[in-house]
Point group: C2
Chain length 337, copies 2
DNA sequence: TTGTAAGCGTTATCAA
DNA sequence: TTGATAACGCTTACAA
């Protein structure tokens, strides 16, 4: 059912119908009513493609993340979807799988699709994908991490604070030899995560053992195999080199649990663990995981709200919102001597 | 950068450019090459809105589910997204939150957006939202459950088999009094879930106690409060009326764990539990949850594949694919006398 | 081999 | 108060 067909039924011109549907005051109120009820009757819905083509207003945004399945991200886009829905918007969702080529394709697809804005968790903080974004002048909000440009909108939590919190907590529980499972070495976010660890160590005037920081891209499975290596004595890090572990994600923390099981170690009796993210389920692990909470829902809702504001008001301001992580104390850390 | 602008740069007509970009053989191979490299140089991407408007071919599908955040669904649409990406398609994702009005809005939005097809986990198996879908003649694949019409495509797992498996497993472990936490009483899927439970009980010539089946819409939190009621003695079901629990979802099983903790009961020592879905994380619960596995990834990939086939080949066949659940034996069930 | 023109369903401008 | 018309960016007969 298109405007034209509706016009036939109503016996008026199609442009009259168009105006009537948009409640244009210049159209006689009775005509308007008549046409509107006709529209309802015939289940008329505007073709958003045509609308979008005409006035670049598709009521859609794109959300590009790195792992659709991860509970971390799903909490974020859940929040995004909810707010979008309330505002009559819909989202495209795409998964870059931590791959720059895929990310670029996703960005280009979204632009071609006519999205009015983009929320993206960038694979890399300075890839030329991001330049593309700026060049094409797409309204975008970065989440989870932030690119190296200044003039952008983003909302993310400060990894330095997170690892500082985790490290300090372990130190106050008597741990002096702390293994840090960090992200890939070249990533700014890994640098930040390391920095907080360092800060807390220095603050406590504890020695920093460089070999106790492992840089890798550690998913659940990767962590299992890394920790298996370590705990089976096949790694430069020895079994007694550390009493506690800080890791970059709860998924990875679950991997540590798994490896501990494999090697008959008990958490926290043999090793303490602090995770990061506070994803769903960590409270039900055995033992419940002590972790650093990221306000994921808030990240999502702040990001859409910012984006929607900028779309709707056409304001050109950019905001950097830095959220604070908090420590969630549960039972994966042992107090020692 | 549009076709017209490209045409200016290339010094040819815009329709020549259009054809060249589509690799139309009637255009001189050199012209084609020249234009194509020009397109690359200027970062040209077709406007999919215009394309879609012209030839109803938006390369998008809609996915409408009931809880974007649930690990159950996220595994499904992860699989959907992957296959879509490989085929150059993108998905709109929307959350109906188990609400029919929201579902209807979502469906209408998607249609207006020009999706070529829909994958939907319907709120209700016979709402008039589904009639709308048929009426509008949108290619759709139903997942998770199936509407009551015959001439539809769907992929879902047989709940009867699932609950049969769970019940039988408990029976062989010596349980005779089994509490069934079922979905809302009016839902066909609840009926099916009940049926399997009944079948197994009858097969073992065990008595069926109707009061041991509780119908409700049981998320994690709702289950916690239900089980708290029961275990604190504030429910018609008594503490000793059952030794084991079968529940309609792992999320709900986690709720049981939580309530057990609250009431100082041990699983499986005091009560055995069998879940349903086998969502991520259940293997790491304490104790690891014995549950009925739903092939979620397969559900997703079969659903998109069917949809894509029907879109691409324009075939009009409909398929009902019924997947089989399997029992995952872990440690939440105790063998008793 | 290339170009012209119509049309997809809207909105918006201008004329009637 | 209503209607005709052009335009958004693209595809595709058909004409040149």
């Amino acid at each position: 059912m298109t405007i034209k067909e509706l016009a036939e039924k109503a016996g008026v011109s199609f442009s009259t119908v168009a105006k009537a549907l948009n409640n244009n005051e210049t159209i006689n109120i009775e005509t308007r009513r008549r046409i509107q009820s006709l529209a309802k009757k015939y289940n008329y819905r505007p073709n958003i493609l045509a609308k979008g083509l005409r006035n670049r207003h598709t009521q859609t945004i794109g959300v590009i993340l790195n792992d659709l399945q991860s509970p971390f991200y799903s909490e974020i886009y859940k929040a995004i979807g909810d707010i979008l829905y309330k505002n009559g918007y819909t989202m495209y969702l795409a998964d870059s799988k931590y791959d720059e080529t895929t990310e670029r394709k996703n960005i280009l697809t979204m632009i071609g699709l006519g999205v009015e804005g983009l929320i993206i968790s960038a694979v890399n903080e300075r890839s030329n994908n991001l330049e593309l974004l700026l060049m094409e002048d797409v309204k975008t909000v970065f989440i989870d991490n932030r690119p190296l440009w200044d003039d952008i909108s983003c909302v993310y939590v400060d990894h330095t604070v997170a690892s500082y919190l985790a490290t300090k907590y372990l130190i106050t529980h008597g741990h002096k030899k702390i293994l840090l499972l960090n992200g890939p070495v070249n990533l700014p976010s890994s640098r930040r995560f390391y920095q907080g660890y360092l800060d807390a160590l220095k603050e406590a005037t504890l020695p920093v053992n460089p070999s106790l920081t492992i840089y890798d891209s550690l998913g659940l499975l990767e962590t299992v195999s890394l920790m298996n290596k370590i705990w089976m004595g096949n790694h430069r890090v020895g079994l007694n080199d550390f009493t506690a572990i800080i890791t970059l994600s709860d998924l990875s923390a679950i991997g540590i649990y798994e490896a501990a099981l494999n090697n008959n170690f008990s958490i926290p009796r043999d090793y303490s663990v602090v995770g990061y993210d506070n994803i769903f389920g960590t409270e039900y692990l055995s033992p419940p995981l002590t972790t650093i909470h990221q306000p994921k829902e808030q990240t999502g809702s702040l990001a859409v709200t910012m984006l929607l504001n900028s779309i709707l008001s056409k304001a050109e301001d950019n905001f950097q919102i830095i959220l604070n992580p908090t420590l969630i104390e549960r039972q994966s850390v042992l107090k020692i001597d």
